[in-house]
């Protein structure tokens, strides 16, 4: 009973779904306001999802409908587990063990993997192009993301445990400085992970149709969208855990801080999305190979030197 409550209500499905939907709606509204438009209502993602439930499925002949629905469903389950691992306030006693950050990192990779598999599986040329592009991008931004995680893990002292809780509780002045230094790398790698504008290469808004999701329709597409919303919730709260003193305060204030941090992250995303245009794949890899990965490594080395001196 307790577990079902955890799974479906507070840190699980409902919380992630509502938080992700509100974040997406907030981002779309902000984006519209920055372009002097009125923009959709903040609840728009929920309308989209429930409308997709009503639609029929038109799938390619060669795919069996079981696989068609299974591929998007696996990451949904994975992301729910990811939400359950995170030490949310009111819940933290049950979660947080060593190396949970690594597990979260793998679980948040699953939606993209499922999209790549779906793109190749659906046999549509646009899906294959999108999947190939997504697979190529995969290595670059994950490099930066791993650097960021490792840097943050070095903050907590010698038995490096990659534990989200101990990162969230490291608040010395030096730690704060290093945390602030890693913010841009975190933002860039998450932007690429979520396929937002300067790095919206795999689906390219509407230019190569919808990238890997070209053949998805009806409930399958709704599941993909749900995955996306859960991902948004996870990255929003991850930002709050890393860079705000969430676990240092009382649980209520901690929860409010998580929401504030997530919405602030999406404010930055809206700004970056509006201010930049989509890069080519070569420009993307040049940006990561020439600037972001070396700089992230530099910060990692500096942190190690400072911490072990």
């Amino acid at each position: 009973m307790e577990f079902l409550k955890d799974l479906f209500l507070y840190p699980g499905f409902l919380f992630g779904f509502v938080l992700g939907g509100l974040l997406e709606g907030f981002k779309r509204k902000l984006k519209a306001r920055m372009q002097l438009r009125k923009g959709p209502p903040v609840t728009q993602p929920f309308y989209d999802l429930s409308k997709l439930l009503l639609k029929n499925i038109t799938k390619p002949y060669r795919i069996s409908s079981f696989t068609y629905l299974l591929i998007p469903f696996v990451p949904t389950a994975a992301l729910l587990v990811g939400l359950l691992i995170m030490p949310y306030p009111f819940y933290q006693e049950k979660s947080s063990f060593s190396f949970d950050l690594i597990l979260i990192f793998y679980l948040t990779e699953l939606p993209l993997l499922s999209q790549i598999i779906f793109g190749y599986f659906s046999n549509s040329p646009y899906g294959m192009i999108g999947a190939a592009r997504a697979g190529q991008m995969f290595f670059y931004y994950n490099g930066v993301f791993i650097m960021v995680i490792t840097t943050l893990c070095l903050l907590e002292g010698p038995p490096y445990s990659f534990c989200l809780k101990s990162i969230a509780e490291a608040w010395d002045p030096l730690d704060v400085l290093i945390k602030i230094l890693t913010i841009p790398f975190f933002v860039f790698s998450v932007l690429a992970k979520l396929k937002l504008n300067p790095f919206s290469i795999p689906d390219a808004e509407a230019e190569i149709l919808k990238g890997p999701l070209t053949e998805a329709s009806g409930v399958a597409l709704a599941l993909f969208k749900l995955n996306y919303l859960l991902e948004l919730a996870i990255f929003g709260s991850l930002f709050a855990f890393f860079y705000l003193p969430v676990l240092k305060t009382s649980p209520t204030i901690g929860l409010i801080l998580i929401l504030l941090g997530a919405f602030f992250l999406f404010f930055i995303f809206a700004l970056v999305e509006n201010a930049t245009a989509r890069l080519r794949l070569s420009q993307f890899s040049a940006l990561y190979l020439k600037f972001l990965i070396p700089l992230a490594t530099l910060i990692l080395v500096i942190t190690w030197v400072f911490k072990n001196w």
């Binding site: 519209a32 306001r33 920055m34 002097l36 438009r37 009125k38 923009g39 700004l271 201010a275």
Partner: protein, 158 residues
């Protein structure tokens, strides 16, 4: 880039440019909008010049009914330029949406007068005279009130 971000941030506090869309549709457009042709039956002489110039066959005359098919009209204004009597007018209004194509037929009646002798419908004589003299006529000579056929009978050229 910095300038652009500054603009974006100030835009957040400005009023949106979007125009209100209340109810079903927005009727008011600016005065410079060209709009769509409207036919005025009382000025038309049924000379069919507009049918001749219309590039997309949008105009039809059936009996005394003047039909503009707005499914075909491309708002090129050729008809208004060609009409000698100024019966085609462009007023700035929008062409609406429709569920069936019949809503796009704009039907007006041409006001024809009857020949005093045989009762055959014929265009108003004062229109033709006004066009001929350049100003509205004061009196209309009696032979103009007959249709061309009757005119030939009564006033035989000698």
């Amino acid at each position: 880039m910095v300038k652009l971000i500054g603009w974006l941030l100030t835009n957040l506090f400005k009023k949106p440019l979007t125009i209100e869309f209340k109810g079903k549709s927005l009727k008011a457009v600016r005065g410079t909008y060209r709009g769509y042709p409207t036919h005025r039956g009382e000025r038309c002489a049924a000379c069919r010049l507009c049918i001749y110039v219309c590039p997309s066959d949008a105009i039809r005359i059936e009996g005394s009914l003047f039909i503009i098919n707005k499914c075909k009209c491309t708002a090129c204004k050729d008809c208004a330029d060609a009409c000698p009597f100024g019966a085609m007018q462009f007023i700035p209004r929008l062409i609406g949406t429709a569920i069936s194509k019949n809503e796009y037929m704009e039907i007006t009646e041409i006001k024809l007068v009857k020949c005093e002798n045989c009762g055959e419908p014929m265009p108003k004589p004062e229109l033709l005279l006004g066009r001929l003299l350049g100003k509205p006529p004061k009196t209309i000579p009696p032979y103009l009130k007959l249709c061309p056929k009757c005119r030939r009978q009564f006033f035989k050229p000698t």
